[in-house]
């Protein structure tokens, strides 16, 4: 309970249709950022449970119905987000809303049939954003497989910079050293910008000492990430063949991407007709019809000999068990998709390799969009990545020419504590800024901080 806080920051009127996993996760994140949220779902039970936990208003009904949208005061809304189960319903909700008001609309569209035409749909239907959690997850997994030593890889500066999340093993030369002592290995365009230790997230400065089992996040130009990992003393290897368990939409997107890089893909899928579909869509992949939780099936798929195992079934528990099983019998890089189960502490105790949470990816993209819209003037957030279960954020802003931080040497800016200007993307180049560097108009500025909720670049100032 907080004492009366001034409503300095403008809250937006946001309508969210569909209270599934992504919808709920959006409500959780956006309601904390002082927005006025109306949720619509067909199931009154879901509405009730959401109203009980968050300060939002709920309407039970079909979100695509005009009268329901009127009841939700869509004409006064700034943003409408449709994340129901069905792509068609999401698009219809957005079309109806677009006719009734001039709010910005965001739809979740995930079927491959439409996703290839996402740009066309977006333009023709006047959508502000189309999100595809499955495709986003596939992209993320493919980045991880590209840098298999990493626990996670996030992309910034339109793909020119990467933030690598990696666990420091004892064999590395990093533990016990202060960051300032590591200048010889740290020289050049690389920066350790966040360290996870135990339950805490640190934004380190030069005097910070790394310990064994810390998880560091460092940022560097994308093409150099492998060489830096090598320089830090990590073993790096290339993934040549991948076993994907589960043949859902994410698997399809992932396989498509991996095959285009020339990686061998095997997919285990239990449903025969889905196998037929996958086989016609992905002629180069090996499709295995069988139960991914059956040891013999996995053995037949030669799980011991692959470079990476990706658990992508629709059931979180199966994915976790699969990864634990694979961990025991092979040295493969492991990627686990977890969507529903939260228990962050319990999951961090299990060694599940890289964990991908599709709903976080989707939520973060939407939150980035909403924050840009709610800033006092034009602000644009390119990317938002949450660090260590919401304890911090890495945000990428586009610097505006009239922003108060532009053209001032960074050492003269009085920025907040626990905040790092980690990286600047300028004309396709990536630079790790020194104190003498200035932010120029049009720069992509990547901020790493434990202050969640930054809306515009000048929020980094005290």
């Amino acid at each position: 309970m907080k004492a009366l806080k001034s409503d300095k920051q403008r809250g937006l009127n946001i309508v969210i249709i569909g209270c599934g996993k992504v919808g709920t996760s959006l409500v959780e994140k956006l309601s904390r950022e002082n927005h006025d949220i109306t949720v619509i779902d067909k199931d009154p039970e879901k509405i009730r449970s959401i109203i009980d936990s968050y300060d939002v208003i709920g309407i039970a009904g079909n979100g695509a119905s005009f009268s329901v949208q009127m009841e939700a005061e869509v004409p006064n809304a700034d943003i409408l987000i449709s994340v129901t189960q069905s792509d068609e319903l999401n698009l219809l909700c957005c079309i109806v809303a677009k006719r009734a008001s001039n709010c910005e609309t965001i739809a979740r569209v995930r079927t491959p049939d439409y996703s290839n035409e996402a740009q066309y749909l977006k333009d023709q239907l006047g959508l502000a954003m189309i999100i595809n959690p499955e495709k986003a997850s596939a992209k993320e997994i493919s980045r991880i497989l590209h840098t298999p030593t990493a626990l996670g890889v996030s992309s910034f500066a339109r793909g020119h910079a990467e933030m690598i999340r990696v666990n420091i093993p004892s064999s590395s030369l990093l533990p016990g050293k202060k960051l300032s002592e590591l200048e010889d290995v740290m020289s050049g365009d690389v920066l350790v910008c966040a360290v996870e230790r135990g339950e805490e997230l640190f934004i380190p400065d030069g005097s910070f000492t790394l310990l064994e089992n810390d998880i560091i996040n460092f940022i560097c130009p994308s093409q150099k990430s492998l060489s830096y990992l090598k320089r830090f003393g990590f073993k790096t290897s290339q993934v040549r063949d991948v076993l994907i368990v589960g043949g859902g939409r994410t698997s399809y997107y992932l396989a498509e991407e991996l095959i285009s890089y020339g990686i061998q893909v095997r997919i285990v899928e239990i449903d025969k007709s889905r196998c037929d579909e996958l086989s016609s869509l992905l002629p180069k992949a090996i499709i295995i019809n069988g139960d991914g939780t059956n040891e013999d099936v996995l053995k037949e798929a030669r799980i011991e000999n692959v470079d990476a195992v990706v658990s992508l079934t629709g059931i979180d528990e199966e994915n976790i068990m699969l990864t634990l099983h694979a961990q025991g019998i092979s040295n493969a890089k492991l990627v686990t998709k977890i969507d529903r189960i939260m228990f962050p502490e319990a999951i961090s105790r299990l060694n599940l390799g890289s964990i991908v949470r599709p709903k976080y990816l989707t939520t973060d993209a939407i939150v980035a969009f909403v924050r840009s819209r709610s800033a006092s003037k034009n602000s644009s957030i390119e990317t938002l990545v949450r660090l260590f279960d919401n304890r911090g954020e890495a945000i990428e802003f586009i610097a505006d020419s009239d922003s108060p931080v532009v053209d001032i040497p960074l050492k003269d800016l009085s920025t907040k504590d626990h905040l790092l200007i980690a990286c600047i993307g300028r004309n396709g180049r990536t630079l790790i800024p020194s104190g003498n560097e200035c932010i120029k108009a049009g720069d992509l500025v990547i901020i790493v901080t434990t202050h969640t909720g930054l809306r515009e670049l000048e929020d980094i100032l005290i």
């Binding site: 309970m1 309601s31 006025d36 109203i51 009980d52 208003i57």
Partner: protein
């Protein structure tokens, strides 16, 4: 149960009450009454206690329905204990039980009084009595929600416990905005009434206290004869405003938002006005148009109907002397009560409508045993839980009513007095019939009966379950364990 957070909220309630007590203090200064000073002392006591209790923020923010209910019930009890002190200490209502009865009757907007001579009280005390109606009408916790921010949805559990009605809906996405809008509507309607009463030549003090009594649907008058001696204009203004304060406040919100269609479609508000008009017609016919000029008859019956159905309890005529059918019509109105989401009490029109619809559905199921019919309100199906809650409410309501009447009957008064006295307090109305009629008072009842009726008033205002929960042992079962864990 999370006790620190309950302590914290109670602390805030005390601070708010301490601040509100400064207003009767000012009244005391204006009329230069020495008894007004008691408000200063009690206010300081309340502020200091409140500051101590709310100083340390609770570590855990766990706040579930049971915390919401217990906090609400305890808040009202604590408020009443502090609120009755000025009456007690100043000696104007010397007995603690009487003072408690009076202030609970004030906060719960009942308006039942133990005093036989109201006019002998000082102005500051009279003001506090009426002001307590205004405070209790919309609720202190709703006021708190308007000013302090609760984490997540926890505020909803407070609102649910304090606001009357089978379902509690928000008007705006944020609870704080909802609470603010409710208070804004409440305040502006009160100011409107004050202005209209002043225009009718009423004194400022009388129009303030009368408006507070109307707005909270309370019914404490500052005259011994309630509203009988005022001009017809004033009586009409009060009658109309009473009826308006008995309407669901969402109705006004929809009007403000220009959502006319939706507003006019509200079944409960329609039902409410139909009942009012029908009751007026019945009473006029029953009393007989020949007995008095039609204008006067209409005014008296409209005033009494509006006063009773909204559970206010002002009177312009001694309806105790009316013919039996008219008297019973009023008793029926006592139980029906006003709309959900208003400041009034009773069972609530929406519950009555739902129960009638259920009975009709039952009839249909005898003719077509396999038929399925959803109960709808405002064109939308009512959730099973809400219906279930309504039936359970009614059963619990009847049980409490019967037990209360049984205990009160030990005082040896006649049944009509007992039945209507309990009905009048339980439904937060004020006057009943016979002994407790508009010209009588509750002073004659024993202290035990008074305490029973105090419980009834609080239970009626908070819609039973928050009060009942205080007496349910399992609700407190976590207490010992919680203490241990904290240590």
């Amino acid at each position: 149960m999370n006790f620190p957070i309950i302590r914290y909220i109670l602390g805030w309630v005390l601070i708010v009450e301490g601040l509100l007590m400064l207003i009767p203090l000012i009244v005391g200064f204006i009329y230069s009454e020495s008894s007004g000073l008691w408000f200063l002392y009690v206010s300081l006591l309340s502020l200091v206690l409140g500051a101590i209790m709310s100083r340390k923020k609770p570590a855990s923010r766990d706040f579930f329905l049971r915390e919401g209910c217990v906090t609400t019930a305890l808040s009202w009890i604590v408020m009443s204990v502090i609120g009755c002190l000025p009456f007690c200490l100043s000696g104007e209502i010397p007995s603690f039980a009487d003072a408690m009865f009076e202030i609970i009757s004030g906060f719960t907007t009942t308006g039942a009084s133990v005093l036989s001579d109201v006019e002998s009280l000082s102005h500051s005390m009279l003001f506090w009595r009426s002001f307590s109606h205004w405070i209790g009408g919309m609720g202190v916790l709703v006021f708190l929600l308007a000013v302090i921010q609760m984490a997540g949805g926890s505020g909803m559990n407070l609102m649910r416990a304090e606001s009357p009605g089978p379902t509690v809906g928000k008007l705006r996405p944020k609870l704080r905005q909802t609470a603010r809008i409710l208070y804004l509507i409440y305040l502006s309607m009160t100011v409107m009434e004050i202005i209209l009463l002043l225009a009718g030549g009423m004194s400022l003090f009388d129009s303030l206290t009368t408006s507070f009594g109307t707005a909270g649907t309370g019914g404490f008058g500052v005259k011994n004869d309630s509203m009988m001696s005022y001009s017809p204009y004033i009586q009409w203004v009060v009658a109309i405003f009473m009826a308006l304060f008995g309407v669901n406040f969402s109705f006004y919100y929809l009007l403000l938002m220009h959502r006319w269609k939706q507003a006019l479609k509200m079944e409960e508000v329609r039902g409410y006005f139909v009942i009012i008009l029908a009751a007026i017609a019945i009473i006029i016919i029953n009393i007989g148009p020949s007995s008095a000029p039609f204008g006067e008859l209409l005014r008296h019956s409209a005033f009494q109907v509006s006063s009773i159905i909204t559970t206010t309890g002002f009177a312009t005529a001694d309806f105790n002397l009316w013919p039996e059918t008219s008297r019973f019509t009023l008793v029926l109105l006592m139980f029906i009560g006003s709309c959900a989401g208003s400041t009034g009490g009773g069972i609530k029109v929406s519950r009555v409508i739902m129960m009638v619809k259920t009975a009709l559905r039952e009839l249909q199921s005898y003719v077509f045993p396999k038929s399925i019919k959803l109960i709808k309100m405002d064109g939308k199906p009512v959730e099973r839980e809400v219906l279930h809650g309504t039936y359970v409410f009614f059963i619990a309501y009847m049980l409490i009513y019967v037990v209360s009447v049984f205990i009160v009957s030990f005082d040896g008064f006649d049944s009509v007095s007992n039945l209507t006295a309990v009905a009048a307090t339980f439904n937060n109305i004020g006057p009943g019939l016979e002994l407790a009629g508009p010209t009588g008072n509750f002073g004659a009842f024993s202290d035990l009966s008074k305490y029973v009726m105090m419980f009834d008033m609080l239970a009626g205002r908070l819609e039973l379950f928050p009060m009942l929960l205080l007496f349910y042992p399992k609700c407190w079962s976590g207490m010992v364990r919680y203490r241990k864990r904290v240590k």
